[in-house]
């Protein structure tokens, strides 16, 4: 009961903003032609569901985002742990990571389209690359700082050296890995929509740009709302999962 109350509490400012938005529209304070009212956006949402196959587009987008993100998570964690535990891996990977870190990954979307076509693969590729570095860096930085006494304890309790990376280093680094993953998750949505804006025949990014071109602003707003809701839901779910995995960090 208290938890429910505190959850509602969290959303009060959002509801307030929505109310203000609608009230301002009704009072004629904002220009309906470029900033549609909340009620017309909601009507647009229902229209998207029934006429524009919103669920199909959302499904495709989620598939692309999840594929790219999970790929980045798996490969990024492995690369980060490898870099922290092997001098050779560090030698080979670190300069590349450091130098490509400042590059805005969206700049590479056209290249991915050139290489992988306009379908799912180019989108997944762009999301993967964009989401990869925060995972690698957060994993590497925390894995590198793992207390050597933990590693030695494992050795003396019979863990062979080659098993230490996943039996000790990975779990010990998990709190920072989870923070890195959360940043990557947010980035994965940014790249998803950017990639779908640029060239695509389906997906929410495509829907937003198409509705915008056709001047259906309530519909466009509704599609933006759909991306937001999906992004928020993903972030909240990730947070809940992260808290479960990191139960041991609670004081």
């Amino acid at each position: 009961m208290v938890r429910l109350a505190s959850r509602l509490h969290f959303y009060i400012p959002v509801l307030l903003a929505f109310t203000l938005w609608e009230a301002a529209s009704q009072a004629g304070l904002i220009d309906e032609s470029v900033f549609p009212s909340l009620s017309s956006v909601l009507v647009g949402f229902v229209r998207l569901l029934t006429n524009n196959n919103l669920l199909m587009h959302a499904g495709i987008s989620i598939f692309r985002q999840m594929s790219g993100f999970l790929l980045a998570a798996g490969i990024g964690i492995a690369a980060g742990i490898l870099m922290a535990t092997s001098g050779w891996a560090r030698f080979a990977i670190e300069p590349i990571i450091r130098l490509t870190y400042p590059l805005p990954k969206s700049a590479l979307i056209p290249l991915f389209i050139l290489w992988l076509g306009i379908g799912d693969a180019s989108k997944i590729g762009a999301i993967f690359l964009g989401a990869l570095l925060p995972v690698v860096l957060s994993t590497y930085n925390s894995a590198r700082g793992v207390n050597v006494a933990l590693v030695w304890s494992a050795w003396s309790l019979g863990t062979p050296r080659w098993q230490v990376p996943w039996k000790v280093v990975l779990p010990a680094a998990m709190p920072e890995i989870v923070s890195g993953l959360r940043i990557s998750l947010a980035l994965s949505f940014t790249l998803l929509v950017s990639a779908e804006f640029l060239i695509s025949q389906e997906g929410l990014g495509y829907l937003i740009s198409q509705l915008g071109e056709n001047g259906d602003y309530p519909g466009m707003f509704a599609a933006v709302l759909a991306v937001t809701v999906i992004g928020v839901a993903a972030d909240r779910s990730f947070l809940a999962l992260g808290n479960r995995v990191l139960r041991w960090t609670e004081q």
Binding site: A149, W152, S153, S156, L157, R247, E250
Partner: protein, 259 residues
């Protein structure tokens, strides 16, 4: 042949400036099976370094360490270690920590549970099996570390200032409990401390080390039985402290001149 032989051991590190730095030198020590021996000395004299070499975590630069005649090459479950800051696996519960070494040994689940429970009970942590270390006090965490080590049934216990991070009262209790455990099991213990009274209270022999490079300055037999009076322990500790005091002062002066 002694049980644990440390023969003319030297350890040098390469400093940041690329010069060799001798941490410990000329360490010759033999330790009998079932003996409780302490290492005391000013901080930086190489007590931990020596313990780590016995553990096989770092190699000796020169000399050799042998357990039962076999040269130490790497860490192994025959030598358990406890660190000052516990070094528990924070993502594992108390039970998970104590079972860790048993899992590595391939012990079947039911037997593992039972064995772990025995050691958890022994260190007085019944009821905390499912707690994570972050929920426990320092004293309790160190009990978990001791149980985790004992569960693997090592023949040598290496303890590096295990009670150094605990408050004075907890430390006293832990000292008494460790002594009782040692009387019960008769394991070989190499115990590092900077507390001479702790060393006298617990051990049969105390190795006094000098600094820069760390060498053995003296080896003192405490000659105290389990029923030794407080006055006798204090007297021995005072004598030991007189021996150590010069070393500590010299080490502090060296630190100052370096700074």
């Amino acid at each position: 042949m002694a049980f644990l032989e440390i023969q003319d051991v030297r350890k040098s590190y390469v400093t940041g400036q690329g010069e060799p730095f001798i941490a410990v030198d000329g360490i010759d020590l033999t330790i009998e099976q079932g003996e409780f021996i302490s290492l005391v000395g000013p901080s930086g004299c190489g007590k931990s370094t020596l313990l780590h070499m016995i553990g096989g975590f770092v190699p000796c630069t020169e000399g050799a360490i042998r357990v039962d005649g076999v040269a130490v090459q790497q860490p192994g479950p025959d030598r358990g270690i406890v660190f000052q800051h516990f070094a528990l696996f924070p993502w594992k519960t108390v039970r998970g920590n104590v079972e860790y070494g048993l899992v590595e040994r391939g012990m079947p689940r039911a037997e593992r549970r039972q064995t772990a429970q025995r050691f958890i009970d022994m260190v007085g942590l019944s009821g905390f099996e499912d707690s994570f270390p972050s929920r426990l006090s320092g004293g309790m965490q160190q009990r978990v570390a001791i149980a985790r080590m004992l569960a693997c049934e090592p023949s040598i216990l290496l303890m590096d200032e295990p009670f150094g991070a605990l408050d004075a009262q907890t430390r006293k209790i832990m000292q008494e409990e460790l002594r009782a455990l040692w009387h019960q099991f008769g394991k070989t213990v190499v115990f590092v401390t900077h507390d001479v009274r702790e060393a006298v209270f617990l051990s049969q022999r105390v190795v006094v080390m000098s600094t820069r490079p760390g060498r053995i300055k003296a080896i003192v037999e405490t000659g105290l039985g389990p029923g030794a009076s407080r006055a006798l322990i204090d007297e021995k500790a005072d004598k030991l402290w007189d021996m150590l005091r010069d070393e500590v002062v010299r080490a502090m002066a060296a630190e100052r001149s370096k700074a």
